[in-house]
């Protein structure tokens, strides 16, 4: 776990190293309070579509995000950004339905990341299976801004896994995919898959998880962040 003081330390270190205006502004913003009730924080649910799973050889194809304010998903702040890639879309088109022809008018990775940083400023980053998406975001941040992406992360997959472990009454092998988790909370099936729909789906899952876990009971942000 990344304690509050290490976060601030890194904030200072990265600021010293980074000359990029957009990232500097992002780093200067106050971080969400770890001690305060998690309902007081704002979140940004994010999902990426990539050409594959390998950070070294694959690329981000699109970024979808949607903010959560006052524990409400705000669709008015949702964005879906297609990212130009030097590789074609290739085989992955089968999965997420993005074809080369859709990429006309797409943004460069740097435009897309600037846009994400602006939206993420002062918010907790909310992901489902953070490890994968975060690796791509870190790689892009390092390359574009010369520093890693500094963010407090809540991972709905980790939250779900904790819950299943805690109530493990022989319920092994329960799926942890986004759609499996959503089904357990009786959330609707969304059929079309793109980065934005999955970001919204992740945001809804998060609301359902914390409502069922905590109800109205006080809980600090530190209890749910995973790093």
């Amino acid at each position: 776990m990344l304690a509050g003081w290490t976060y601030q330390l890194k904030q200072k270190r990265y600021l010293a190293r980074c000359q990029h205006g957009r990232m500097r502004e992002y780093l200067r913003a106050a971080a969400p309070s770890r001690k305060a009730d998690f309902r007081k924080s704002c979140y940004l649910a994010v999902d990426l579509e990539m050409t594959g799973m390998e950070v070294d050889s694959d690329h981000i194809l699109s970024i979808g995000f949607v903010p959560i304010d006052n524990m409400r998903v705000m669709l008015a702040g949702a964005r879906h950004i297609l990212v130009r890639s030097s590789l074609g879309v290739g085989q992955s088109a089968v999965i997420h339905g993005i074809h080369d022809r859709d990429m006309v008018g797409a943004s460069s990775l740097s435009e897309a990341m600037d846009c994400l940083l602006e939206a993420l400023q002062g918010r907790v980053l909310l992901l489902h299976y953070a490890a994968l998406d975060l690796a791509f975001l870190q790689e892009a941040s390092q390359r574009l801004y010369g520093v890693p992406l500094l963010a407090m992360v809540v991972d709905t997959l980790v939250l779900e896994n904790q819950r299943l472990q805690r109530n493990s009454t022989g319920q092994h092998g329960q799926g942890l995919r986004l759609s499996d988790c959503r089904r357990r909370y009786n959330l609707p099936d969304y059929h079309a898959h793109n980065a934005l729909v999955d970001a919204v789906a992740t945001a809804e899952l998060f609301l359902a998880q914390v409502a069922q876990w905590f109800g109205r009971e006080h809980a600090s942000l530190a209890r749910i962040v995973s790093g």
Partner: protein, 618 residues
């Protein structure tokens, strides 16, 4: 700068919810892109409504109840339903309360957007105004019902009590009772206080049967160990007391002095519309004649339900509950006479009784399912039982089935293996002709008896029917023969001659086609659901039909059924025999318009059914 984008899944959902379905595409997109989403947990008190900023709430999943500030239930909201609009329409502060019955997601639109949609698009405005009016009407109805519960004993015993003194003779008091036409008198002491009670029954048992003289003083025969009730007590408390002590007369006191008498008859009169009492009465009848007498109250029950504004669905369920109770009591009576059944069995109801949507006139549709061990000797027992029940139902107003679908018919009184063979024959070697009269059998329900036996049969039928394309195609071909009575130019097609000239059959041309559609969808997935509206809801949640189509069909079913009920209610009131024939000219122009809409829904659902189930096969 953030440009809002649409999330297709949310837009699609809204597009299935009237009145959003009628918004122009651009407006719908704007609304969908501004949605806010929240999740509420069941039992979390006061969590939902944001009192400071009124907004429109659209339920995506879960179930919610709206109550007024006094806790009266106003509305129950399920997926696709709304709350929060009254204060948006009136500008008044929110006073209603919301309870989360089942966890769920709720979409929210802020007040400004709601007002913008209202002023830009008239049908949107009209929809919510109508919803608001409906809810107010419901509120009034709920209040009337609760009035029944909060009535006090003093309100229902209007007359002064008939009283006597302990020194008066049996002969004197018998004359008094006859003159006053009462079945009991209250005996008072010299300070007007309650002292004892004498009833008809006391005169019979303690005087006549014991051979006492007519000069016997009341003091010798009266009951002194009395249960009484205060005039301030609630009517239902009196009901409970009488049931608990198994008594039929209850003196009513105010400050210790008798002010009246409540009898079982008073209670029944006070709550004539109460199906619970009617069913309770049925359970006490030891003879067919008794049941026949009780079932004379059914038209009154129907009339008061219609007047109280109950939905056709509620009325259907209540009337069926009464039929079920009559059937069970007849079976109990028969078993009392014939002895215990020699083997396990289940009494089956088919058709409208099976679907729980009976109306004022119902024929019998029933059968007997016997355990596979039943012998020929056993069958003669069951034949006798079936005869008793079928005859009894006929005397209670449920006419013999013209097609002889009754337990007395040998073919419809069979061991499990026989029933399975019958059903598998329909399903596996279907022909349009063989299935013509068979559809009612697929709406079967166990009314009495061995549920394991019944569910064995049901499981066999459901799994054989599931996904069976040829069977479903034949069923569909039959269903499509009954079409709504609408001509090419949107005029009603009516009977040209005969008794029902200028009218059409609401059941045959309106309600049955919807029942057929619902049944085919249920059988296609092997569902055990039998109630038409439940089948349609299930078909929507399985994505066999869209949520919008399901809602439209449910509304059409309710509308046509409600018209039929009102028609039958009016006929009963006029003392004529109720039927299903409606002359559209007798309707208001609004109702005629709605009826056309309802029929259009049925026609388009039939077209969809044809495409889905008969492609290339018929």
């Amino acid at each position: 700068m953030t440009v809002s984008v649409e999330v297709a899944a949310i837009r699609e959902f809204l597009a299935g919810c009237p009145p959003f379905d009628e918004l122009p595409a651009e407006m719908l997109g704007r609304a969908a892109s501004k949605v806010q989403i929240a999740y509420y947990r069941a039992g979390d008190p006061g969590a939902v409504l944001d009192y400071s900023s009124p907004r429109l709430y659209v339920v995506r999943t879960g179930a919610f109840e709206v109550r007024d500030s006094e806790g009266q239930l106003l509305d129950r909201v399920e997926p696709g339903g709304y709350f929060g609009y009254p204060s948006l329409l009136t500008g008044d502060a929110i006073t209603n309360q919301l309870t989360v019955i089942e966890d769920g997601l709720v979409y929210q639109l802020d007040g400004d957007l709601f007002q913008a949609l209202r002023s830009a698009f008239r049908p949107f405005d009209r929809f919510f105004n109508r919803a608001h009016a409906n809810r107010l009407r419901h509120a009034v109805r709920f209040r009337e019902q609760s009035y029944q519960l909060t009535r006090r004993v003093g309100d229902i015993c209007s007359r002064q009590p008939v009283v006597a003194l302990a020194g008066q003779t049996v002969a004197e008091v018998a004359k008094l009772m006859t003159a006053e036409r009462v079945s009991s008198v209250i005996v008072i002491d010299d300070r007007d206080r309650l002292y004892g009670l004498v009833t008809d029954r006391d005169l019979r048992i303690r005087v006549v049967a014991e051979g006492r003289s007519a000069d016997t003083p009341l003091a010798d025969i009266m009951t002194t160990d009395l249960v009484s009730v205060s005039a301030e007590s609630l009517v239902f408390e009196a009901t409970l007391l009488m049931t608990e002590h198994n008594i039929h007369h209850l003196p009513v006191l105010r400050d210790g002095s008798p002010v009246g008498m409540v009898t079982t008859t008073d209670l029944i009169k006070a709550q004539k519309a109460d199906p619970v009492l009617l069913i309770g009465e049925i359970g006490h009848q030891e003879t067919v004649a008794g049941l026949q007498r009780v079932s004379r109250d059914i038209p009154e029950l129907l009339g008061s339900l219609i007047r109280a504004g109950a939905s056709a669905d509620q009325v259907g369920r209540l009337l069926t509950t009464v039929t079920d109770a009559l059937t069970r009591q007849l079976i109990h009576q028969a078993m009392g006479k014939l002895g215990a059944a020699p083997t396990a069995f289940a009494w089956l109801a088919f058709g409208s009784q099976g679907r729980q949507d009976q109306a004022a006139i119902s024929d019998q549709d029933n059968g007997l399912l016997l355990s596979d061990g039943a012998t020929g000797e056993d069958d003669s027992y069951f034949k006798a039982l079936a005869t008793y029940v079928n005859d009894g139902l006929d005397r209670c107003g449920y006419k013999y089935c013209p097609g002889e679908v009754m337990a007395t018919t040998d073919r419809w009184r069979q061991p499990l293996a026989g029933w399975k063979k019958q059903f598998l024959g329909w399903i596996n070697q279907p022909s349009t002709k063989a299935l013509m009269h068979a559809s009612i059998f697929f709406d079967m329900r166990c009314v009495f008896g061995d549920r394991v036996l019944f569910s064995d049969l049901q499981q066999t039928v459901c799994s054989a029917a599931r996904g069976n394309e040829i069977f479903l195609a034949n069923l569909t071909a039959n269903a499509l023969k009954l079409t709504p009575p609408m001509g090419f130019f949107k005029h009603f097609v009516l009977e040209h001659s005969g008794e029902h000239k200028h009218a059409f059959d609401m059941k045959l041309r309106g309600i049955m086609p919807i029942n057929d559609i619902a049944r085919i969808h249920a059988l296609a997935t092997g569902s055990t659901e039998i109630h038409t509206l439940a089948r349609l809801r299930e078909a929507a949640s399985n994505r066999q039909i869209t949520l919008k189509d399901a809602r439209n069909l449910i509304d059409a079913h309710e509308f046509i059924s409600r018209l039929r009920l009102e028609h039958q209610g009016a006929m009963l009131k006029a003392g004529s025999k109720p039927d299903n024939y409606l002359d559209p000219k007798t309707l208001s122009s609004l109702s005629r318009h709605q009826l056309r809409d309802a029929f259009a829904v049925v026609t388009s659902a039939q077209a969809a059914l044809r495409v889905k189930f008969t492609r290339g096969l018929m």
